[in-house]
């Protein structure tokens, strides 16, 4: 995996010490940790708003900071696209002027393209205080994109938005990443939101990176695991439709996997098309396991798969089942014993359609021009 940034820094403010030595991989990376763990400070240090006490920062081959060589590239020359939690739009300018603030005509990203991508055509002549929280967030992202940043960094992009709007921003971010191959680093203390965006995580606690990798690997890690286990466990996976059917009023979503019969039965108003992508979110607590298909049951989803691992956290038992994608299932110790579940066994994962949360990403997202 290629690396976007190499960071080795030490930063102390009062009793808070941030000490990190990390290599941030390419793609979308989520920084997760409790409040006050140093996630936002890390982004500010990378952007240059704050100065480390020692160490070095290397991003996409450019040295931004090196204490020993006395290199410290000023904020305005770093092109680290930090989008703040509150958007920080300039209140005295229209949305159009905000968007064009850091725009250079030589930029590889055009104004019209960004406006269309983020669906903000109707806001251009408005002032920031006339826009909703979600609209302001999109404009702040658009303004940063037009500055052609090396990396797009988002500090708690979901927390200033209400529940209905917060996940609306996710498809836009995935669209940006796919269209411009731009590394995106997102800081959040909400693991559910982060996982809908990416599976590549860095777990931060007390100013240190205590683990990096996929959610399922980190969840059972002896160091990073306890931080992730404080939150509700969640399955979040991005799937592409191989084919779409309608069964008894439900959408049958067939995805690419080793189990051709596996399909998600979901209740969606919008008609999906083959090749469209969706993000599926299912709580592990809502899934049951059965050694065989069960016909006389209300749960409509029955995905066949193989148990990859069985792990215990306290009194909880988690089975990781490969149903074409890794699915985390929470069962009790007694169920594990009663069903004699073992790694390598074939099982069916049963869950209701209403337990599945779907975030459509649209077809335009898969276009790469």
């Amino acid at each position: 995996m290629s690396v976007t940034a190499d960071i080795d820094i030490k930063y102390r403010r009062g009793s808070f010490l941030l000490q990190m030595r990390i290599a941030i991989p390419d793609g979308i990376v989520g920084f997760f940790g409790p409040s006050g763990s140093g996630k936002s400070s890390l982004l500010k240090l990378l952007a240059g708003i704050e100065q480390p006490d020692e160490g070095q920062i290397l991003v996409r081959g450019r040295q931004f900071y090196n204490c020993a060589s006395k290199i410290n590239v000023p904020v305005r020359k770093r092109k680290m696209g930090l989008v703040f939690q509150e958007g920080r739009l300039f209140p005295h300018m229209t949305i159009r002027k905000n968007l064009l603030y850091g725009y250079k005509p030589t930029s590889s990203i055009s104004f019209q393209e960004v406006v269309a991508l983020l669906e903000i055509e109707g806001l251009l002549e408005k002032k920031p205080d006339q826009c909703s929280g979600g609209e302001r967030q999109r404009v702040a992202i658009g303004r940063m994109l037009l500055n052609s940043p090396e990396v797009l960094m988002l500090d708690e992009p979901f927390s200033s938005l209400d529940q209905r709007l917060r996940r609306n921003i996710i498809p836009y971010l995935i669209r940006i990443h796919e269209k411009y191959s731009l590394p995106i680093w997102v800081v959040s203390h909400d693991i559910g939101d982060l996982l809908m965006l990416t599976d590549q995580l860095m777990v931060i606690d007390c100013g240190q990176v205590i683990g990096s990798g996929s959610y399922l690997d980190l969840l059972f890690d002896p160091i990073a695991g306890p931080i992730l286990q404080r939150e509700e466990e969640i399955n979040a996976v991005r799937l592409r439709a191989q084919s779409i059917d309608v069964l008894n009023g439900l959408t049958a979503f067939y995805y690419y996997s080793d189990y051709p019969a596996n399909c998600l039965l979901i209740d969606m108003e919008k008609q999906l098309m083959p090749d469209e992508q969706i993000i599926v979110s299912i709580p592990p607590q809502s899934i049951s396991l059965s050694p065989e298909r069960v016909d006389s049951i209300s749960a409509r989803n029955q995905l066949q798969g193989e148990i990859i691992s069985i792990k215990e956290i306290g009194r909880k038992v988690f089975c990781q089942v490969n149903v074409g994608f890794p699915l985390l299932v929470e069962i009790t110790c007694s169920s594990k014993a009663r069903l004699a579940l073992k790694e390598g066994a074939q099982v069916f994962c049963l869950f209701k359609s209403i337990s599945v949360k779907i975030l459509p990403l649209g077809k335009s997202l898969v276009l790469r021009d």
Binding site: V75, K79, E86, R88, F90, Y101, G102
Partner: protein
Amino acid sequence: MKAIVEAFLHIPMVMPPVTTGYVLLLIFGTHGLLGHFLKKNLGVNIAFSFSAAVVASIIVSFPLAVRTVKQAVEMVDERLEDAGAILGASRLKIFFTITVPLAFPGILSGFLLSFTRSLGEFGATITFAGNIFGETRTIPLALFSAMQTPGKEAEAFRLMLISIILSFVAMLASELVNRRYYKSVRL
């Protein structure tokens, strides 16, 4: 050092205006350091002229404007200036496109306040510019003169009314722009 410069700039605001006028007279008077030079080389005489009234008003009221403008600029949310820097703007661009427009109502309010203060200037003007009818007689000087002259009570009353109205209008305008200012700097 910064504190010393600031204290020096703000002296005229708290010093007795007559003292300010006397200092100005010592500098710009015909035998003063600068006054002698100006008279000899450029033939310009500042003391006891219209220019003297203007200089006295500016010296006394300007620190008030400086103080208000400084506060207005400092009140602009630094986070917006950081956002500008992240977007690649230079300090100069940030100052003129973010700081000044957002602080503008505060700046305007500062100058209005300073203007109102200068309208009431008395001590420094009478010491440095005198009380010359048609040339250096400002409203407070005219009011004082009218009060001293028997039979000019009506004129004094009119001048008093003009003074009150001008001060009220200036303060009202300052208050209104100040309100807009606090609204504008709110993120």
